[in-house]
């Protein structure tokens, strides 16, 4: 690079514009790749976009903090998107009201099973305490999980990574798993996806069926509420 090229790069790499654009272009490319692979569950657009964007950071030696100064505008929208879940909830209010008992029971059982099994397995395999505190809210949507992990003495950034990995695992496995189990109740399938795999499970559920998506959104919101209360209790009880 010449000096002029280098100073242009130094200038651009410090503005939010560059990294915001990279995030959008990475997702566009990822979506094309996913479509080219016939929307195979393993070809998750979010995962591919993360790999592309992380590759750009590595290749250019850009610190994550610099990247996030641009990408935070996208990250910020997770909060409003959570509020927006009220709209499908409102549209399907009659279906939802009829399922209030199964939802309550599934919420409590699923939330405890997901959090408890993660902590027990990780603890048995020698994962240390501070990492476990970041692991406890792994099924909760990123912004809220970071707050929960911080309250437990964990690392919010690590919590966000574990949340994304959980969401990716859930989004990739939920459809084949539910088909394999012969589950045809779209309410139950969606509810499981949103509970175990937060926004990424919800996004997947909306792709499969609007009712599944609605129940996924409810499960994601309810699990965020319940996990904020349960995580300190479960972590203390198990360790």
């Amino acid at each position: 690079m010449t000096d002029a090229d280098f100073s242009l790069w130094v200038y651009l790499s410090r503005t939010p514009l560059l990294w915001l654009t990279v995030t959008l272009l990475a997702y566009l490319a990822a979506d094309r790749i996913s479509a080219a692979l016939g929307r195979h569950p393993l070809a998750n657009p979010m995962l591919i976009a993360v790999v592309i964007a992380a590759g750009v950071l590595f290749a250019t030696g850009t610190p994550y903090r610099t990247y996030f100064e641009g990408a935070q505008f996208v990250h910020f929208l997770i909060g409003p998107a959570t509020v927006a879940l009220a709209v499908p909830l409102y549209r399907n209010r009659r279906t939802v009201l009829r399922a209030i008992l199964p939802m309550g029971a599934a919420l409590l059982a699923g939330s405890l099973a997901a959090m408890g099994s993660a902590l027990l397995i990780a603890d048995a395999l020698g994962v240390p305490g501070p990492v476990l505190a970041s692991l406890a809210p792994k099924s909760v949507t990123a912004g809220i999980a970071m707050g929960i992990a911080e309250g437990l003495g964990g690392d919010p950034a690590l919590a966000a990574v574990l949340v994304i990995l959980t969401g990716a695992i859930g989004a990739v496995t939920v459809t084949p798993l539910m088909n394999g189990m012969g589950m045809r109740d779209m309410r139950a399938r969606g509810f499981a996806a949103g509970l175990a795999a937060h926004g990424l499970g919800t996004a997947r559920a909306f792709h499969v069926d609007p009712v599944a998506g609605t129940f996924a959104g409810i499960a994601m919101a309810l699990n965020a509420l319940l996990s904020a209360i349960l995580a300190p209790v479960v972590l203390r009880a198990l360790l």
Partner: protein, 123 residues
């Protein structure tokens, strides 16, 4: 688009403010969601003085792109590769097993209780 965005952000602001004022261990955006739901239901009770299209449009647009919103948090993996490398086996096993267990337990309990309650209504 601006009235819808304003309403969604106002609901979130209300939720966050309520959490900070009361110290409840609850997520602000989730309280914001409940607030927006109550507003939509209230609009029904008042014989729908408002056409809710102004808020449902932006809300649907946000939800249609939900997976995209998680990309910046996901890229954060580059900062925690050391922790992941040190404990990769335990974390991988815990994440994969617990996600599958969470999915299976949730769906089975939902379907089981749903069958029990509908049978109760029929009887």
């Amino acid at each position: 688009m601006i009235p819808g965005a304003a309403l969604i952000l106002s609901c979130q602001l209300f939720g966050e403010a309520l959490v900070h004022a009361t110290g409840w261990p609850l997520p602000g955006p989730v309280l914001g969601m409940i607030a927006l739901l109550l507003l939509l239901l209230g609009n029904d009770l008042l014989a729908r003085p408002l056409d809710t299209g102004f808020v449902t449009g932006p809300a649907d647009a946000l939800l249609a792109n939900l997976a995209f919103l998680f990309v910046p948090a996901g890229v954060g993996v580059v900062n925690r590769l050391d922790v992941l490398a040190a404990h990769w086996f335990g974390l991988a096993m815990a994440l994969i097993a617990s996600t599958l267990i969470g999915l299976v337990v949730t769906v089975l309990v939902f379907v089981g209780v749903s069958r029990l309650t509908t049978r109760g209504q029929a009887a």
